[in-house]
């Protein structure tokens, strides 16, 4: 038996905890309900996109289209929002899956490399979104429950009155805190749990990692490689579609020009979360931690400015995110070199 080893995804969870603890110690209200919930509400979209990206990257592919697909889906779902919550939700999801299917077809049928195929879909989705929306944002309907998807707190109706009282205590505080989670956070959480179960406990999930670990070997082992690759791009499209639905619902409008740079944020989350960019190894939980870590950096910078001790502008967040990516990528490279040297 080998000794206990620190996996890259455990490391990022540790960093996340340390940063959160640091924030809690340093800033008032950092782990207050309001701050945590707004961080979660805003970052849920990115987390969902990163989850889809994680599936794609695990097979050794990449999906650059997620940002504009989310924008496209937000427009579609905004148009459908007058027909109800479900119509908006399903509409956005289907729009995303449609774009994902186009990616999948370009990659598995025309054998166009993922980088270029998804780049083209990115442009096409963005163009289609702008065409559909006439270059403007599309207001969602406030007559239906659609906006609850992004703005509501799913379980708040379960929240008893007393937790807001003086004598709520720690338990009551925690209960109120959790039941007050925003709806998008619940959606992301469920998606991540399902994603983790699929990757770790289904044959499909194992084939995703196997294909990324060795395409030719997987084929020789009798796995249907093309079907696996097809599926991950559809999943990624679906996640981007869901993010688009939340986007429309949260900001009250379908946003055809949103989504710029989301793909790279998602890639960074996945990589920082310990998933190998070359595919074959990775962690769903790590991706969530990676997305939260990159998200929390922004918040910390905000709070730091509030304290005014050292004034760091919010613009440092990109620098810090890049730095994280740099460290992770170099560590990954060194690690894989050592493995090669051993072999």
């Amino acid at each position: 038996m080998k000794g206990f080893r620190i996996s890259p995804s455990m490391a990022v969870v540790a960093v996340l905890i340390v940063l959160t603890a640091l924030g809690a110690w340093r800033y008032d209200g950092f782990i207050g309900a309001y701050n945590v919930q707004s961080v979660l509400r805003y970052n849920s979209m990115f987390a969902l996109v990163a989850l889809g990206m994680c599936f794609v990257i695990m097979t050794g592919g990449i999906d650059l289209s997620v940002g504009s697909v989310a924008a496209f889906a937000s427009v579609v779902s905004a148009y459908l929002s007058p027909y109800g919550l479900l119509a908006g939700l399903i509409g956005g999801l289907v729009a995303g899956m449609l774009a994902g299917t186009i990616n999948a077809l370009l990659i598995t049928r025309l054998k166009i490399m993922p980088f270029i195929a998804t780049l083209a879909t990115m442009l096409a989705a963005s163009g289609t979104a702008l065409l559909l929306a006439n270059n403007q944002s599309v207001s969602v309907s406030y007559d239906t429950a659609f906006t609850a998807l992004g703005q509501g707190d799913l379980l708040s109706f379960l929240r008893p009155e007393w937790v807001d009282g003086e004598n709520a205590g720690l338990l009551g505080g925690a209960l109120g805190f959790i039941l007050g989670f925003p709806t998008p956070a619940w959606m992301a959480l469920v998606a991540y749990i399902v994603g983790a179960v699929v990757i770790n406990h289904t044959a499909f999930g194992r084939s995703v990692l196997a294909v990324g670990g060795g395409t030719e070997a997987s084929r020789l082992m009798g796995l249907s490689v093309d079907r696996t690759i097809f599926s991950v791009y559809v999943i990624s499209g679906a996640m981007a579609g869901l993010a688009g639905v939340i986007l429309a619902s949260q900001f009250g409008a379908g946003q055809p020009i949103e989504g710029v740079g989301w793909e790279l944020f998602a890639i960074a989350s996945v990589v920082v979360g310990g998933t190998l960019l070359t595919g074959g190894n990775g962690s769903i939980g790590g991706t969530l931690a990676g997305a939260l870590l990159l998200g929390i950096i922004f918040t910390i910078l905000n709070f730091e400015n509030g304290v005014g001790w050292i004034s760091l502008s919010a613009y440092w967040q990109s620098v810090v995110r890049g730095l994280f990516l740099f460290v992770v990528v170099v560590l990954q490279a060194k690690l894989s070199k050592r493995v090669q040297a051993q072999a």
Binding site: K111, I112, F115, I116, L123, G127, S313, V319, G322
Partner: protein, 334 residues
């Protein structure tokens, strides 16, 4: 002649099979440009005016300049996602020099010289950082350059605190909007860079070595070609090209906005390179093709706009063009 004529004929006949593919590979983009121009002559009103030519050329200047660097990088089998961020760094840095904000200069022209050369060099140095990550740690270029894609814009934003730097320095802005022989100066810069790079790629040892590294890295190494140095150099050049493009952008706008300079440029440049006929896997590259590729994309967009098709539709068409170009490459390799 040492070889019998039969053999020459044989070799030619062998080529015949590939002639059509070869023809499209070589002249497809040029043909597309010619067809688009002819189409516009016939259909689009006021197409054959100096104004139209200038507008279309100005639109592609920065894309082509960055595309030149990108072509060299792709020729070695790499890719550079950081170009837009490097444009932002150069663009954000430059005004600090020519407005004398950073350090006082004896006269305006020295300040402008510093405001031009130092930012370009800084962008080049960031390019070297890309090269270092790629060669030292064998990190895939797409990931290695992602680091600066993210951090680079942050650096630009931090150095200006995210503020818009507005200026009115006609002497500096001449690099974009000045005219020589009626043609905008930025178009001249583009043409000079294209000509120089095309010359380097075709005529110099460095150019041949770039193609050899992309065509067969192991063979290049076994032939004593300094593969690492070549890679460093192409990313350095690509960084400097981005720097030049960044300066042109701020000169055109008389303002530097670190949040916006070069946003999305990496994709425009890659699209131009691919449509131009450079092989994404490396080993075959054409600088003039990149110019033509950018021109095709721009002309398609212009044609659609001038004929009443909304702008976003051009994006969809551009996507189709990219897929078509790459698909053609695949067919020809298979």
């Amino acid at each position: 002649m040492p070889w019998p004529t039969v053999l020459i004929r044989e070799a030619r006949e062998q080529n015949n099979v590939f002639d059509r593919a070869l023809f499209f590979q070589r002249y497809g983009v040029a043909l597309a440009v010619v067809l688009l121009i002819l189409f516009n002559f016939a259909v689009t009103p006021n197409f054959a005016t100096a104004q139209t030519v200038a507008v279309n050329l100005s639109q592609i200047c920065t894309i082509v300049i960055v595309g030149v660097g990108m072509t060299l990088v792709i020729a070695t089998g790499g890719i550079d996602l950081s170009v837009g961020s490097l444009m932002a760094i150069a663009g954000a840095l430059s005004p600090m020099f020519f407005t004398g904000q950073l350090l006082p200069m004896p006269n305006l022209y020295m300040a402008i010289a510093a405001g031009i050369f130092i930012p370009i060099l800084v962008a080049g140095i960031f390019g070297l950082f890309n090269g270092w990550l790629i060669t030292r740690f064998s990190i895939q270029p797409i990931i290695a350059t992602l680091v600066l894609f993210i951090a680079g814009r942050g650096i630009a934003q931090v150095s200006t605190n995210g503020d818009l730097q507005v200026f009115k320095v006609p002497e500096f802005q001449a690099i974009a909007i000045g005219r020589v022989l009626g043609v905008p100066f930025q178009v001249w810069i583009m043409l000079v860079i294209v000509a120089a790079a095309a010359f380097v790629l075709r005529r110099t040892v460095f150019g041949k070595q770039v193609l050899a590294v992309g065509g067969n890295e192991e063979a290049a190494r076994l032939s004593g070609i300094p593969v690492t140095r070549i890679k460093f150099l192409v990313y350095f050049i690509c960084g400097m090209c981005s720097g030049v493009a960044g300066l042109i952008v701020i000169a055109m706008n008389s303002a530097a906005d670190a949040n916006l300079i070069g946003l999305g440029m990496e994709l425009d440049a890659i699209a131009a390179v691919v449509v131009g006929g450079t092989l994404l896997s490396g080993g075959r590259a054409t600088i003039v093709g990149t110019l033509l590729g950018a021109l095709v994309i721009q002309l398609v967009r212009y044609t659609l706009l001038a004929n009443g098709v909304p702008d976003p539709a051009a994006l969809v068409v551009k996507a189709g063009l990219i897929v078509l170009a790459v698909w053609l490459q695949r067919q020809e390799q298979a």
